[in-house]
Chain length 495, copies 4
């Protein structure tokens, strides 16, 4: 392979002659530019430069081989030169490094929200935007946790709770608590080791990890990091090309994966405006300024990576999946009792009640809200045996886990909290997060009078208000603005 | 016609001798002053000066001929002199120009609210006040969008949604989506080309435009701007003088208008305090200061233009309308199931459930709130066939459109969002707004499992909370002011 | 009578030798000091000085003669000296004068809240505290208006509303609208002419005034100010000494008063903490500093004036009232359907559903909330004929009046809004306030399709949420503090 | 005993050789360090120093004898030297002293919230954190008072309320009002005299005090401070070692205690994050900085003192308690109707509906919320005679007391308000607090038409909304941020 200098590459920096360096190799992307799923803008930003740092968190390691022909590779950069260059720290990298150096001690993290606060301060803006964003007005995003606030507990006292055992089993695997880490994309945006961090922490805490299709680490890396006896599941985005999907599924099963979770709530990836907004402000190379209004804009990290997903997926496909794997098949993203019943009828082993973390459809209900009606419908049809119902979305406290279990869930998944802990403190952070949730759940089980998971019952939840989506009523601004609010003699500000 | 100089005109600047220049012609308004529907104050402000810029956005071009006798015209200004004079940019014009030059790029607009923010920054204060204001405390104004927040979705999965088709037909016209641009007054306050901007953008996006009676452009201009195959409807304020009304209706039909929408919620135009407040602060000529408390004040742009509307309009009039036109007749502003049924019984082709954008009666319900009971009442009476129900008010998102269609609406109208897009970016802005709404609606239809408009069903909406007007409860200020709210270790401010 | 100098009086300035000047007369209050219903503190503040300005707004003009023996009067001040002295403007008077000079023009007042804002800026702090305060946490105070926000309208269209007539009759009196000015105490705190201002404005607007027992003007002054054909009612606090009460009632009837409203919600006057707090900060004479913790503190203006009220008043007393007057007897402050029925059974002509403007019992319901159940109970017992039900509390808009009438009230009373208008602009202010309410009510009647008061029906109100006292739920501060709220590209602040 | 100098002690300041001075005695805590229930960190902070001030408020006076062997005492400090040393005022003590000197006069306290504001300003941060904190997100903590806000009153008028008698009896004791001071731990954090302050104030106001197991004063001190005829109850945490418990119970009965309240809602003490956070920031000795992430952190004052509590306590234990005492036995911390019924069936004399002041389990319901269903269940089972139901949590106003009594409670307990009053003003403060609550309750009883406690009935409460836990709905930030809120002409800020 031809050896090139960075100086040489730098000359090819227009959209009609566009070279880029990735992992030391030089690619001519002139022809590829208009086809880039993430839009041309982001590539133009790195025209004539090394784009490795921007490339890595978004793309699986093997993607170049899959998308570019061999001829696109123009040569490689002399390794020595590359290393010398890479040593220069950009202003952005410096900011991130300083934020990381100054973050609080790990043992100051008292709850999952603490990790979110730290993550916001240490993540690069585009990573924060990608992780934290939701669909449209983010009503569902916030509703996911808020819905738990409409559920109240009915604690029983005078029960011997000296020993509390929160272990359970999910799809036949014993696990230390009814919680798993769910699949989330682009882990390397938050941590250089990507989703492997979650694998290691899950092993350490004896909980299950669900491997994402859109991991930044390759599937094999995550399988390779698995500890002995550790259980992994696999989340699948179904490809328009079913041969690719079949290969993935068979490979997963062969690799010892214990459950297949097919995502059904994302025939098209959602509009996440924070992510879209971030895209705009971040990637604004000067050579584009004059033609601003014309360039087709990328629509954020989310949509850049999802063009392969098959929107024609339907109930008839379940049979085919059944034919290619013996793994339990579960549908992830079911949002009605009707579809849960259909899933059972089509021979699935379970569903995840989920709205994709509020990232897809605003005003989709939270999983916890529909859980009671799902359980009731399954029971009414006699389909609740050997069918496991999971919930993800909005789990932040031990009480949230308890409520989901009480209402019939076999377990719950956490996504963002794990990403935030990972981004802030790596493996130790995720371990600490899970420990905190265990502490909280143990406390709740003790105070509820339920020494084991089996003791947790639906009648312990007051779910009267579960459907009450009220609030957000227009305020009476004139009256409020002239009202002189009461104040204590010494105290906080006037309200 | 006599030629006059501006210097000469300037001498007639008292209420007892008052000349004004409009479009180069000089009028003696001394006698007209007390009769001006907009009040004398605004005329006095321009006494002895050229009032064209203030006159244009409020008045239809042909109004002077209709209201003033020929003798009131005292002559005309030398064209050369006028042009020289007009070249001077006022401070206000300068501010508006700068705001327009510095506004964000059009492709940074991600949703309808973005346009509203830009419009607020580029519009003249009186235009913003006129467009954005509502009745009384603006409870209904805000409720219109908020009401959609009490409606939640029940998304169905595993449906083939590869192709999504959002086209439909309204009053027999095929249209690209179930959305039209509704009638709004005084378009030139926001854009020099007025409502013609909306005509052009509607054509480009293949949606229907409803032409307003109180357009700043003349009816013929808007008809003239129509593209081939473009459909227009006509909104009618019924004049006390029915001959005028008849002329308008017959002319509209002859001009190819496809539907007549009679406004029935405005026998008197509403009190809009922001508009009234703006009026006061803006129009305060020095010669009036000493007699402040005495002058009858104008009550804002809205009421200035509406004195001709007939408050005696009633059900008996429908027959007469039927007799003068073959266009479908719809009542715009129906707010109860009872009146929707009456409309059908009186032979109307449909209704628009609307509260006039919250501009008329505070605590009138939103159209979306009453839609289910309207559909139920029509069905109960067997009147739902060949009767089309539309909704306007508060439509801001694709989910809003979806919800209205699901609950039985044939289509929805947008008013302010189009005005804001028009005021900010002209035709391109309105086109972009409609594209965004199409993007959103397509996404919602795909994620709801409804590939066509016909697939959208009432059972997909959870409308349990539609009637819940709670909130606004007095807060416990003493307790809140001493409560020390929790904070994450790093994060936002104390709440 | 002996003539004294101010210098001489100034020597008697300790609690053991305490003289004070009121209206030019010198009183020795040494013995009276501990018995002062308003507490000794306020008297000590003026020890040895002229206390007329502080005395006037709190005390009826004839009170000294009733409470002090003739011997307490030590003489009078030379008139010339007094006048000279009075010319000096205190800092407080200066502030008030300036505030009044700089207040907005009257015609900038667009609604009742505008008057409240102005009143807050022009009133002396103790006057604002007395007028604006309510019981405990002021939940009921604010609920009174908020309750109307839970009532929504069902407007009817296509009704001939060319002519709108809002006149009605109350207790047999024709009046221009179903609104009266209710009884409120201490008018001179807000305006030097006290409640006479309200008499004059009521006459001008052809509405009824209710004369308060605790007026700062004497009863005869208010009767004397009455215009021909003007109707006045009388509000009665029942005295422990029934002879006094009888005298008052007989005198009222003889003076042409047309209705007797017996206050039944104030056996003890409420704790109003703003008023109590103000008392403390305002009245802190230096000579008391050293013994701060010991002095019994006055409990605000309210309780200072109310010690005579009889807490033993009960149903048996109605008969006696019946025996001493032919005026219609109504109970003011009824708060349950049960008591409304009892009032009718005991021969009263009506009730006012009222919680004393939220000044007595926090968490008492608003009058409008209980109105429907009151009407239903009266009807169920066949007691609704010849029995008039009024509502006061929280009336601020024309829609409020409409809602009360629709639900069965014969009329509504306003208290604070009239005080605020009076305090800000005197008679003109109150006239303007009533005009605004007429404008609003006329608009509402027109837009509701109800040309006369008789057309206003219960079914025009959606009262589904009338009993929904929810809200005030603890917020999720951790989640809120890390949530990054969405923002438009240009717009308001982050929320 | 050997006499040592402080200089000598100062040398033993590492974790491998650690001496500390408490009350003049020197202890070698090297071996005890890892076993300290409060964690090693706090001990390390005082290594080589006098720790008396930190020790006192957390530990009962006799604890050292119980936990340390005699050999651990290395000698004593020369008294003279100690006194000299103690005279130096630390910065923290200085701040506290100044805050106390500048606090408002006691008679400026108008309600219980005022005391809370003052306490926040005068307490040391760790004391404020300990007293004010609650479990998890403090939803239940705040809900406790908020729940009362969903209960509205139905006041009856025309009742003779000249004399109001609020006295009642609880467990056979006559008391001046249906209120007692409940058990709270660590009183010396707030006041040097600890819970004795509450004993003295209770005597003065003729109300009952419940003595806590975890008092900073010894049990005997609190019994010793009892006035003649004063009634005390005893709150019991059941020890894992039942012999200790038996000794405590028998001693209490012998000491004249009139009721035994066994805490059943705390098998493990709650996670109180404010308290945990405070711990971290306060106790950060420099020698620990380098190993920050490793040291096991203390979990706040609460958990430090509670390791002895027996989590295996269950219904079978009631019989044993019955066998060792003749005192009435009540369970404190019952939270469901089912458990109240069980308590009655197991022969208890009553229950306290309580969630431990919101300090244990977040989303536990408030006592007042479950009171109606508890009373109903007891009645349904015929168990409501001779069984007394109490409520604590969130009592801040006279209306709160009234509501609890009306719904069936025999009395209510206050905890934090008494601590805040005690911390701010000692005995006088607590007396004033109780007086204010008496003033408020008397007012409420008068205005409700209930001259005696026996007149207070369930039908006087509108409890329709008692179960409405709604609110906290995601806000529509985009719409809110562009909405231009209405303002009065003069008034408060834009909202």
């Amino acid at each position: 392979m031809k050896t090139l200098t960075l100086q040489e590459v730098a000359k090819h920096n227009t959209k009609d002659d566009l070279w880029i360096v990735i992992h030391g190799k030089v690619y001519d992307l002139t022809n590829f530019l208009p086809e880039h799923p993430g839009g041309p803008r982001i590539i133009l930003k790195y025209a004539g430069q090394d784009a490795t740092d921007a490339f890595d968190p978004i793309h699986p390691p093997d993607i170049i081989d899959r998308y570019l022909s061999a001829e696109a590779c123009m040569g490689e950069i002399n390794e020595e030169e590359l290393e010398a260059t890479e040593k220069v720290e950009t202003e952005e990298q410096k900011q991130t490094r300083i934020a990381h150096e100054n973050k609080p001690n790990l043992d100051e993290m008292l709850n999952s929200f603490d990790f979110e606060g730290v993550a916001k301060s240490v993540l690069k803006p585009e990573a924060w935007a990608y992780y934290s964003s939701g669909a449209d007005d983010e009503i569902t995003l916030r509703e996911n946790h808020n819905a738990f606030h409409r559920l109240w507990l009915k604690p029983r006292v005078m029960v011997d709770v000296e020993k509390v055992d929160m272990s359970t089993s999910m799809l036949g695997t014993k696990t230390s608590m009814p919680l798993y880490i769910t699949a989330t994309a682009l882990g390397k945006l938050g941590h250089p080791d990507g989703e492997k961090v979650l694998t290691l922490a899950s092993a350490e805490q004896d909980i299950i990890q669900m491997i994402p299709t859109l991991a930044s680490c390759s599937f094999n890396e995550l399988i390779g990091a698995r500890a002995q006896n550790q259980t992994q599941w696999f989340q699948l985005y179904v490809n328009k090309d079913r041969a690719i999907t079949e290969k993935l599924v068979r490979h997963a099963e062969a690799s010892g994966v214990k459950g297949l979770f097919i995502t059904v709530d994302a025939p098209q990836l959602g509009r996440r405006e924070k992510d879209m907004r971030q895209k705009y402000s971040a990637d604004d190379p000067e050579q584009l300024v004059e033609s601003k209004a014309k360039v087709t804009r990328s629509q954020g990290a989310a949509r850049a990576i999802s063009t392969f997903i098959d929107p024609s997926l339907n109930w008839n496909d379940v049979k085919w999946f059944r034919s290619i794997t013996k793994m339990p098949i579960l549908l992830k993203g079911v949002q009605t009792a009707e579809d849960a019943v259909l899933a059972a009828r089509h021979g699935c082993q379970g569903v995840v009640l989920s709205n994709h973390g509020g990232r897809q459809l605003d005003f989709a209900p939270s999983g916890i809200e529909i859980l009671p009606e799902v359980m009731e419908a399954l029971k009414a049809e006699g389909l609740d045996k050997n069918f496991e119902v999971y919930v993800d979305g909005g789990i932040r406290r031990g009480t949230d886990i308890f409520k989901a279990i009480a209402l019939g869930a076999k377990g719950v998944g956490i996504g963002r909290p794990a990403l935030y802990a990972m981004s802030s403190y790596g493996v130790d952070g995720v371990v600490k997060l899970v420990q905190l949730l265990k502490d909280e759940l143990e406390m709740v089980m003790r105070l509820m009078g339920t020494p084991t998971v089996a003791d947790i019952k639906p009648e312990m939840i007051d779910l009267r208000n579960i459907k009450s989506h009220v609030g957000s009523i227009p305020s009476d601004n004139l009256a409020l603005s002239v009202y002189d609010s009461m104040r204590t003699r010494i105290g906080g500000p006037k309200l």
